[in-house]
Amino acid sequence: MQEISPKNGMNSLSRRQIFALAGWVTAVLLLRSPRAEAQTQDIVSAFTGGKTPLEGKIELDIPFTADNANSVPVGIRVDSPMTSENYCSEVLVLAEKNPRPKVCSFKFEPGLSVPYLSTRIRLAESQNVQVFAKMNDGSVFATRKAVTVTSGACAPGG
């Protein structure tokens, strides 16, 4: 009497519908992540000019856990004398799992600039925040820190 008829409830999905659903889910999984990754790689290689980033020189100050993903404080300091022979020319902030991974970038000139910044960014989900710094001789430095967010800044699929 309590038996569920195979034509009711969950079982009412036809085989075709199940296949269609499975196919759709796979397509979404396949399409989303490599595209975002490729996008991030494009941004990085455009910035580095193909050079392998080195470690060091960048001090990245960001909390391990962010209560408000809409406003995550980020502090960046690049170790550079900022003379006309040796200076930091550009800084890039990247959040690889954001819908647009390129968060923002900064440009400096020797003389008056000091490569120190503090701002607030949005994070769509928990992820690595990457910072790249380009020197005037073309060398690139990079650092990253994992940030856990308790609530994302953007609705999923945005």
């Binding site: 809409n70 954001n98 819908p99 647009r100 910044l117 949005r122 953007c154």
Partner: protein, 108 residues
């Protein structure tokens, strides 16, 4: 948008070569273009996409902003006070509207 940007300087009368800290915040929605309103329509993107700070026209910092920057963009930066003059800050919106602020720097 009508509210002027709020700016704080560690000093307006630095010694020559002293490093001055500047904190700025400007009111802006920084709409990402990903959100949908109650009717399910996408809210169009509206962000500040550029910020520039110069001292007597000499560049200090140029900031290119994306949708990943928080609403009411906040920026703290530093500069070396090698000369007195006008510290000019300019925020440029996607729609080309501009917010400007000027601070006088005198050397002591």
């Amino acid at each position: 948008m009508s509210n002027p940007p709020r700016i704080w300087l560690s000093t307006k009368t630095p010694k020559k070569g002293e490093i001055v800290t500047v904190r700025t915040i400007v009111q802006h929605v920084m709409e990402t273009g990903f959100r949908k309103d109650a009717d399910g329509k996408t809210v169009p993107q509206k962000i500040i996409s550029k910020f520039d700070c110069t001292l007597n026209g000499k560049p200090i910092v140029s900031w290119t902003l994306g949708t990943g920057v928080s609403a009411n963009p906040y920026l703290e930066f530093r500069f070396r006070a090698e000369e007195a003059g006008e510290l000019k800050m300019v925020w440029v919106d996607d729609d080309k509207s501009v917010i400007e602020a000027i601070e006088k720097i005198t050397l002591t």
